[in-house]
């Protein structure tokens, strides 16, 4: 069976809500039913086949050739089924992998804001850059990403890991300002450079950094340490398709903060 493939016929002029197109929701549907799925496009509803060329049949291996007008790709993935793969070629809009629970999303391109928003499980692998609020919470909500793994090979925007609750975000490139702001728990790794206000309002959680950050006065230097638990963490990353899988050195400089809130967050800087 070949993968069920959606290819945009033309670039939509307004944003499209793609949340009905996931392996979960397409599992028992015939091609005709899939073609008839209504998609909200701006202020109108369009049939799926009005927007997409739809080929193939295996909905568990969904492929979408996307553009930045497509929002909510892979939303709630794995909520009903415990598996399902979504591969996306091209850029996507906001809310990629919103509240996904299991399975995997692989994006070859860039995503806009709120990627991995309130994600609960599974793997989101972006070969490209993402916008602001990676792993954050829906506006007004108090808890962001609460499980799963996010790997970004490029850069992330501002507020990466805002209000993150659990899970792991590994960024091989740079991040913008306010990384790990209001973070509740979980792990964020950043191999590149960081913007200002790192760990602003960070309550708990762990940051793994490879460059010296500019830290606010409420985040305190705790000196250099060799931390045995890092070996265990590295072991857990071994199988991941990321540069983080090769980490060996467990000697770090440790900073704690943000003392303005709980102050139990730890910022670990390698190579110092």
């Amino acid at each position: 069976m070949s993968a069920l493939t959606f290819t945009l016929k033309t670039q939509p002029k307004q944003s499209v809500d793609m949340s009905p197109i996931t392996p979960d929701l397409l599992a028992d549907k015939s091609l005709a039913e899939i073609q008839a799925i209504p998609l909200q496009c701006g202020n109108q509803q369009l049939r799926a086949d009005a927007l997409f060329e739809i080929t193939g049949s295996d909905s568990s291996q969904l492929v979408i050739h996307s553009s930045e007008k497509l929002n909510y790709l892979g939303a709630k993935l794995g909520l009903k089924l415990k598996s399902g793969n979504l591969t996306i070629h091209g850029n996507t809009g906001a809310y990629l992998g919103l509240q996904m629970k299991s399975g995997a999303i692989t994006l070859h391109g860039n995503a806009e804001a709120f990627a991995a928003c309130e994600m609960a499980g599974g793997l989101l692998h972006v070969h490209g850059n993402v916008g602001d609020f990676l792993g954050g919470a829906l506006p007004g909500n108090r808890k962001g990403m609460r499980g799963g793994t996010v790997i970004i090979t490029g850069n992330a925007g501002d507020r990466a890991g805002d209000q993150m609750r659990r899970g792991m975000i590994l960024i091989e490139g740079n991040v913008g300002s306010y990384c790990a702001s209001r973070m509740l728990a979980g792990t964020i790794g950043v191999m590149g450079k960081m913007g200002v206000y790192l760990g602003f309002g960070m309550r708990r959680g762990t940051l793994l950094l490879f460059n010296s950050p500019a830290l606010s006065p409420t985040i305190q230097d705790c000196g250099s340490h060799t931390l045995p638990f890092l070996k265990l963490m590295f072991k857990s990353m071994r199988g991941l398709p990321s540069k983080f899988a090769q980490l060996e050195n467990n000697r770090v400089r440790r900073f704690a903060g943000d003392a303005a809130v709980d102050g139990k967050g730890e910022i670990l800087v390698f190579g110092e």
Partner: protein, 559 residues
């Protein structure tokens, strides 16, 4: 244009019509006498077999003002979970427990309601409240201005000012905030909270102003009466939600020296301390007191099971209950040092002993109060339940079998503490019409609403008589607002804009000098900017002010 509604079974308690077949004629938005034979009828609706009532009036519903907006902001999940798409006629909206203004108006109209009164218009915030209500389509609206913890009032009382000066200030407040009545929330308690008092009983003094709630209630109930305001003082009692507060409530009734008062959401104020868990029903005592005291009326504030949000000016009790909130988040705040506000989301559960007993207490009060002219159907939207659950509540009142069926499924411990199953009373359609129409209009002081006699505004709701009262009241066949067909088969077919009802009692303008001095010294805004004029309400062409009659200023009742 003459419209005729032919052959409906009419329930119009104000005119003592109990289910008789009548024709109703409407001309220019008003109900008129039967016209002469030769006058042509432009439009006729055949209502044979249908039930006809005046449009329903919700005399206590939080639909405008600061705290509703805070509730909306606090609950993004409520809005995301209940989106309403726009249609050809209606604009989009959202929200189940704290719906957007537009959705509020549509949903009320679709349920056959044609008026709703916001009970907590803070004078300093009145503009916000009127702007929100001005954005609520179809239904008429109005508000009760909140005094009682107002700083200037407490200062005047602490200074032992003459009742006449206080009456003038009360009347000035009603003019400035375009109010229909005066509301007291936890008399003096909101102010006391700011001086670190966490409870305030009827005879306890505000530690700063040395004024007791009893004095506030006496002063204001007398002021409202002496100003001739038709709506009695609207009282949200002290000690809301505290077991044992039934004593406070009974004392409040006894304490106002016979002046008329309306006790609102009385269910929350009818708790005893009997039983193993020190929480019991005070409904029987409350009902007996209401039956005896003709100066007292009440609305129930029934709770219904499910998610809702409590939004109250009573920051003292909201702060007390904040830890019970579900989902766990809350807001308590001061507003311009004149009042407070507390918003706590709540989920009432039928297997929770306290919630289940609250539910039973509300229904007991409904069923034990004899006079439907003095007890009103509310859920204190959204505090007990959103207003969209009214049809369900009506079914609970009208259908004993259904009520007992629900009762048998609530927490068994609560069942053991309630006498609900032994009460046989079922409300009749006539009594429901009193409670939700004629009585409510009379209580609020709307002379031309809530009845179907000649001269009344043509707010009319037409239902199909169904054994399932919930289905019947949820989806009226027709709703007319000021003579225009606005809802057909439970769907909005025309969007109109209702009036804002107010009263404007006479007063001595000399009081403004003193008020201005106070504003200049203590307030962040100029006194002139606080006043909401008729022009402000009518400004965008959608609103208008309808002033109702005051009985005229009475002489000092006692020295």
């Amino acid at each position: 244009m003459l419209t005729k509604l032919t052959g409906g079974k009419v329930y119009d308690p104000a005119n003592k019509i109990d289910g008789q077949i009548r024709d109703i004629y409407i001309r220019d938005g008003r109900i008129v006498e039967r016209p002469l034979e030769h006058e042509p009828v432009n439009q006729e609706y055949n209502l044979s077999g249908k039930i006809v009532m005046a449009g329903a009036i919700d005399m206590h519903t939080h639909i405008g003002g600061g705290k509703v907006n805070i509730a909306r902001m606090l609950l993004p999940e409520d809005h995301r979970g209940d989106p309403v798409a726009h249609t050809e006629l209606c604009r989009a909206g959202c929200g189940h427990v704290a719906p957007s203004t537009l959705t509020t108006g549509y949903r009320y109209a679709e349920m056959g309601y044609t008026a709703g009164f916001e009970p907590a218009v803070l004078p300093i915030n009145a503009r916000q409240a009127h702007l929100e209500m001005g954005d609520t389509p179809i239904i008429d609206k109005g508000g009760y201005a909140m005094l009682g913890s107002d700083d200037l009032l407490l200062r005047m009382m602490a200074a032992k000012r003459d009742q006449n000066a206080i009456n003038d200030y009360v009347a000035w407040t009603m003019h400035a905030s375009q109010a229909m009545g005066i509301k007291v929330v936890n008399a003096g308690g909101i102010s006391a909270f700011k001086f670190n008092q966490r409870f305030l009983d009827l005879d306890e003094q505000n530690s700063h102003y040395q004024v007791t709630p009893r004095e506030v209630l006496n002063t204001l109930s007398r002021a409202v009466y002496e100003l001739g305001v038709p709506h009695p003082l609207h009282v949200h009692g002290n000690n809301l939600g505290v077991p044992g507060n039934v004593e406070t409530t009974l004392n409040t009734m006894a304490g106002v020296e016979g002046y008329p008062i309306h006790l609102t959401h009385i269910q929350f104020h009818s708790y005893g301390t009997e039983g193993d868990r020190k929480f019991s029903s005070g409904a029987a005592r409350i009902a007996e007191a209401i039956n005896q005291r003709k100066n007292v009326s009440a609305d129930v504030g029934q709770i219904l099971f499910g998610q809702t949000v409590t939004a109250s000016g009573d920051n003292m009790s909201q702060f007390r209950n904040a830890h019970l909130g579900s989902p766990h988040k809350w807001v308590c705040m001061d507003i311009e040092c004149d009042a407070g506000c507390g918003v706590v989301p709540f989920k009432y559960k039928d297997q929770n002993f306290v919630n289940a007993l609250q539910w039973a207490i509300g229904l007991e009060i409904f069923l034990l109060v004899d006079d439907p002219w003095r007890i009103f159907l509310t859920t204190d939207h959204p505090n007990g339940a959103p207003f969209t659950s009214y049809p369900h509540l009506i079914k609970l009142l009208m259908d004993k079998t259904f009520r007992n069926d629900v009762f048998s499924r609530i927490s068994p411990d609560a069942q053991a503490m309630s006498t609900l199953a032994s009460i046989d009373r079922e409300y009749s359609l006539y009594e429901i019409a009193i409670m939700t129409r004629a009585g409510a209009a009379k209580l609020v002081g709307l002379h031309d609403r809530g009845h179907l006699g000649a001269g009344a505004g043509a707010d009319i709701t037409v239902y199909t008589d169904q054994p399932d009262r919930e289905a019947m009241f949820a989806k009226p066949d027709y709703v007319f607002k000021d003579g225009e067909l606005v809802v057909k088969d439970g769907q909005v077919v025309k969007v109109t804009w209702g009036a804002t009802h107010t009263v404007k009692p006479e007063f001595d303008r000399g009081i403004e000098k003193e008020i201005k001095k106070y504003f200049d010294a203590y307030h962040t805004v100029n006194m002139e900017h606080v006043k909401v004029t008729d022009q402000h309400i009518a400004d965008d062409g959608r609103g208008r002010v309808q002033v109702h009659e005051c009985k005229g200023r009475r002489e000092k009742t006692t020295a």
